[in-house]
């Protein structure tokens, strides 16, 4: 748990009212991310979970300024990235890097993986060719690849796990402070998932990284995150320390998510509340008030009228619900 380092009170990343909207047909808008705010402390890992289409990737890309968000602030080390001019942003980009879900798609198939790892140095400028190669080989060794054997390979000659190692090496080449991981293990075999998670944990300690770790697999997040944030239809529902979240989720959506985790126990029955009814509503026309109310068993008239703010119900435990579950209720 590195989240409470007293030396650095100021968080590394502060996201304020981040909004991402895409144009849809007939002048309508897709509200992918709506007013999301959170902090990420130095050396902390925040796990972001939610079902497909809830805006996790949009949030990650907005933080990466790929492209810039529609509105809101992304403050990294005191610099508001969303308000930066392009020249300054280009310099700052070395401080935040991203790894992607599909390892094969995140590497250029026409290049050797060595060249892919060097590419960030080339884009940032001022490094000689030999120096780039040297640094790339050092980094390859650091992520568990054999520099001599793998440097000249092409992505299709490597396994998914090896490709993901290359992607991690590439992201670390600029010596970033923040690493945004967009479902980095979702497309890998379970055994390889564990290896990549171990590697991420290793480099996190070694390079002092803060991580935003996006996943839809709650078990994976439990494994790596210090805190967990749950997202539903473009809004945060709940932010809590990892153990608090898994022990006592307060938002009805979080509870449904945790209930939906399959358990390797044939005697285990589905909870009395059953599975979540209905489907994820359209982000083009999200429900009024609380966005979860259309699928929530606790929804009342208030939920349709007023959007619940993210409120602190316990130290470090924030919930956006009018009727959260308190630990004492359980």
């Amino acid at each position: 748990m590195n989240g409470n380092n007293p030396k650095n009170q100021e968080p590394l990343l502060r996201v304020k009212d981040l909004t991402v909207e895409y144009p849809a047909c007939r002048g309508r808008k897709v509200h992918a991310v709506s007013g999301v705010s959170f902090d990420l402390a130095r050396r902390e890992t925040l796990g972001l979970v939610g079902e497909s289409g809830c805006g996790k990737s949009s949030l990650a890309r907005a933080i990466m300024q790929l492209p810039k968000p529609t509105a809101g602030k992304v403050i990294l080390d005191g610099d508001d990235l969303a308000a930066c001019d392009p020249v300054r942003l280009r310099i700052l980009r070395s401080r935040f890097q991203m790894i992607f879900q599909d390892p094969a798609s995140s590497l250029n198939p026409s290049r050797t993986v060595g060249a892919s790892i060097e590419a960030p140095l080339l884009a940032m400028g001022h490094h000689g060719r030999e120096e780039r190669t040297r640094q790339a080989k050092v980094m390859m060794a650091a992520v568990g690849l054999d520099p001599e054997r793998h440097y000249g390979r092409r992505p299709h000659q490597l396994s998914g796990g090896q490709c993901q190692r290359v992607a991690i090496a590439r992201a670390l080449m600029t010596n970033p402070r923040l690493l945004v991981c967009d479902e980095p293990v979702s497309s890998l075999d379970v055994s390889v998932q564990a290896q990549i998670l171990n590697l991420l944990r290793e480099v996190r300690g070694e390079y002092g990284l803060s991580m935003l770790f996006i996943a839809h697999d709650l078990a994976v997040v439990k494994n790596i995150a210090d805190r967990v944030a749950v997202m539903y239809l473009g809004r945060l529902c709940e932010v809590a320390q990892c153990e608090d979240f898994y022990r006592a989720p307060a938002h009805p959506y979080s509870m449904a998510l945790l209930d939906a985790v399959p358990r390797p126990d044939p005697r285990h029955l589905l909870p009395a509340t059953g599975m979540l009814p209905g489907e994820l509503p359209s982000a083009i026309d999200p429900p009024s008030g609380c966005r979860f109310r259309t699928r929530c068993r606790r929804a009342e008239a208030l939920c349709a009228m007023e959007c619940p703010e993210l409120r602190e119900i316990a130290p470090g435990h924030k919930v956006a619900c009018h009727f959260p579950t308190f630990v004492k209720d359980l």
Binding site: P109, A123, A167, T174
Partner: protein
Amino acid sequence: MGKRGSITFWLAIGWIAVVIVCAITAPWWPVPAPDLIDPDLLATPPCVGHPLGTDTMGRDIAARLLFGARVSIIVGFCAPLVGMVLGSLLGVPAGFYRGRPERLILFILDTLLAFPGLVFLLVFTFVFGASLTTITVALGVLTAPRFARVARANTIRFAEREFVLAARGVGAGDFSIILREILPNVLAPMLIYMLLVIGFVIVAEGGLGFLGLSVPSPAPSWGGMIAGGRDILDQAPHVSLIPTAVMFLTVLSVNLIGDAVRGRLDRREGQL
């Protein structure tokens, strides 16, 4: 390359190599000059002195085939190259930027595709005169829209990949992304398509020769030679059939090579 089909592939490579070597070494072969008229031997079958016979004006067919190969090879390779460059310049930005620029470029391409090719060639050669250069450029422009479509489709395919996002993530600009990330990947399918277009262009050049729109006579071209023999097809079929066979083999070889290379590329892509 699999065992099956590899023999035809190498035969095709061999034939193309022979044609290219012949085109280069045309002046040094022990045959009469291609425009030397032998008034005593009109449309004779192969004989001593004329290994492939003579045409209707008594010119040596072998010599004309050798020099005609130059026209076919230059037009066949350079016109698709012109088309590929023009097509990339239109297609890659269209696929990369999408939206309004794409619609504008697609409109231009549709217009070009709808315009009758033959009319375009007639007007082009009428305005700029029929020479090797104008025919090459004209056929290049004519194939450019198809190249542009291939370039656009492949650019769209790769522009959505995450490695482009990763390049943006380290601050790479549009130009650098197109040059370093997109073009190397678009090049392979473009070259495969070019191999198919080469065959089309060689046939098209032949067709132009038939209409008298290819390189002006007396310079030899395969199309012109085929056209020259059509009046005496019943008496001396070899005058037309020999250049036809040569053109047929060349186009077939180019297409076979194109298919083989594409199969290989597909297999590589499949592993991704």
